[in-house]
């Protein structure tokens, strides 16, 4: 099967000396739920942001559904971005707007500039957004202001916003790094269930190996800007994990507590 996303020898260098990504090759196929693991500073976040060009890569190529992303023009880039959902560690919601408005932001990339600026969302989009929020258990929060929610709720809004794009790929950058174990589980469950159900490929950055193993169909281990492991979760041996996290072993678990205990 042809991959939907193909990354070839991707490099990113900051300044003249700091190399964040040092030749990454990666293929993503439809319906995959891939966990990208590695210690902080390994380049996971840079990798994800290079895919939708929030960060411009220094070298290499990324092709998404047959379109080349590196070097795409402004308009084409916007069109590509609108098909890729993104979830952030700090939720990145607009605090002073309602939850529903935040979810509807997911539609902006596919609307005309005029309709987008004047918030002329179609009624169908609104109904779909409300349905999404209800599905993720946020029916009470629809008209609350985003800054009134708890962290876990905010992240679920973030997921709804990404899903509202009707994307074929979701990039999730450390979605549970700022959450407690219980909220983390709810967020990961929602993300996982919806991606599988709607056939959305998903690339999740995680630093907790146990969480990665529980949800992922495939795990990619990154160390110092290079892919050092790429395989099924059951193939990830303890030795391999230790190699990936060499010197930063304490980051392997969620807040130092294995997830099984928290659940």
């Amino acid at each position: 099967m042809k991959p939907m996303l193909q990354i070839n020898s991707l490099k990113k260098q900051y300044g003249s000396s700091t190399v964040a990504l040092n030749g990454i090759d990666l293929e993503v196929h439809p319906n995959e739920f891939i966990a990208v693991i590695g210690p902080s500073g390994a380049g996971k976040s840079t990798l994800l942001r290079c895919i939708n060009r929030l960060i411009d890569p220094t070298e290499g190529s990324i092709s998404f559904q047959g379109q080349e992303i590196v070097g795409a023009g402004k308009k084409q880039l916007r069109q590509i971005r609108s098909q890729i959902g993104m979830i952030f560690q700090h939720y990145n919601l607009v605090d002073r707007l309602s939850v529903l408005e935040n979810v509807l932001h997911g539609r902006l990339g596919q609307m005309s500039a005029f309709n987008g600026v004047f918030s002329r969302y179609s009624e169908a989009d609104k109904l779909a957004a409300i349905a999404l929020l209800e599905k993720l258990g946020l029916e009470e929060q629809i008209y609350k202001r985003a800054d009134e929610l708890s962290g876990g709720q905010k992240q679920r809004v973030g997921i709804c916003r990404a899903l509202a794009q009707k994307p074929s790929l979701i990039l999730a950058d450390e979605p549970i790094a700022s959450l407690d174990p219980n909220s983390s589980r709810i967020v990961m469950d929602s993300l996982h269930a919806n991606c599988i159900e709607q056939g959305i490929a998903c690339l999740v950055n995680l630093h907790q190996v146990d969480v990665a193993k529980r949800y992922a169909t495939r795990i990619v281990g990154i160390k110092s800007g290079k892919v050092v492991f790429d395989g099924k979760p059951e193939e990830l041996t303890d030795r391999m994990t230790q190699h990936i996290y060499e010197g930063k072993e304490h980051q392997m678990f969620q807040q130092g507590v294995p997830v099984e205990q928290a659940v």
Partner: protein, 260 residues
């Protein structure tokens, strides 16, 4: 030894700065022919003036000041609204995240700095020459000053906005105007309300002195009564001014608390 030398050097440095300071004071006193005895004797004269010529305020003709008070308030409202519109436009063109081009940002910043660093009363005087005596030069100088002030503080408020939400909209493929509307403006609104209210306060204070150069408002009553040596009337006007400023400060504070 070295530390002793260092201490010595530090002491020397301090003594030199004291000496320079003293010299500056002496030079200043000499240059403007400042005489302390005259100055000290001036203080009782001033206080005597304040408390006998000036006070008590003459309350009998209070109603006649209604017009200048209304004028001043109207100046404040008109100038604040217009200055906030111009300030918004310039502010967005000047702020780092929202400027269409860095060159525009630099040019506008220079222009605004020129506007701001030329004192308000100088603008007012020039405008009086251009438009003649009356409310027009007053309004225009308030707008000129206010636009510069608001453009700067609005731009700063926009630059202080957390970039997370903008990043999310970027990632979803939203365009420039969409980002401004949905991520920048909502976060900017508290700053906008707060600074606009502050501008209103400033314009009330400023329009009180506009009259001194012939640009209308309650300041013209201060000048008029003083030129006629009717000092107890002047003090009435100043009392009205104090009350006005305090009331407006109180009101804007309440609005700010409720809206933000």
């Amino acid at each position: 030894m070295q530390t002793a030398a260092a201490v010595k050097q530090k002491k020397l440095k301090r003594n030199v700065s004291y000496a320079l300071f003293a010299a500056a004071v002496v030079f200043s006193l000499w240059y403007i022919q400042f005489s302390f005895s005259e100055f000290i004797s001036g203080i009782p004269i001033f206080l005597h003036f304040l408390f006998t010529d000036f006070l008590p305020p003459k309350a009998s003709d209070l109603p006649s000041y209604l017009q200048p008070v209304l004028d001043t308030l109207a100046y404040g409202v008109v100038a604040t609204v217009l200055a906030s519109i111009i300030g918004l436009l310039f502010g967005f063109l000047m702020a780092r995240q929202t400027t269409p081009h860095p060159a525009i940002r630099t040019v506008l910043r220079g222009f605004i700095s020129l506007l701001r660093n030329i004192p308000f009363l100088v603008w007012a005087s020039i405008l009086v020459v251009i438009f003649g005596v009356g409310s027009m030069p007053g309004i225009f100088s308030l707008i000129l000053f206010g636009s510069g002030f608001l453009a700067r503080v609005y731009a700063e408020a926009i630059e202080e906005i957390d970039s997370h939400a903008t990043e999310a909209l970027d990632a979803m493929g939203a365009g420039y105007l969409q980002k401004i509307k949905h991520a920048v403006i909502p976060a900017f609104i508290p700053g906008f309300i707060s600074w606009t209210l502050f501008m209103f306060e400033l314009s009330i204070r400023a329009s009180s002195i506009l009259g001194l150069v012939g640009a209308g408002g309650i300041g013209s009553q201060i000048k008029l009564t003083m030129d006629l040596f009717q000092y107890n009337r002047t003090s009435t006007v100043i009392c009205i001014l104090i009350v006005m400023i305090l009331v407006i400060e109180f009101m804007t504070k309440r609005i700010r608390e409720r809206l933000i």
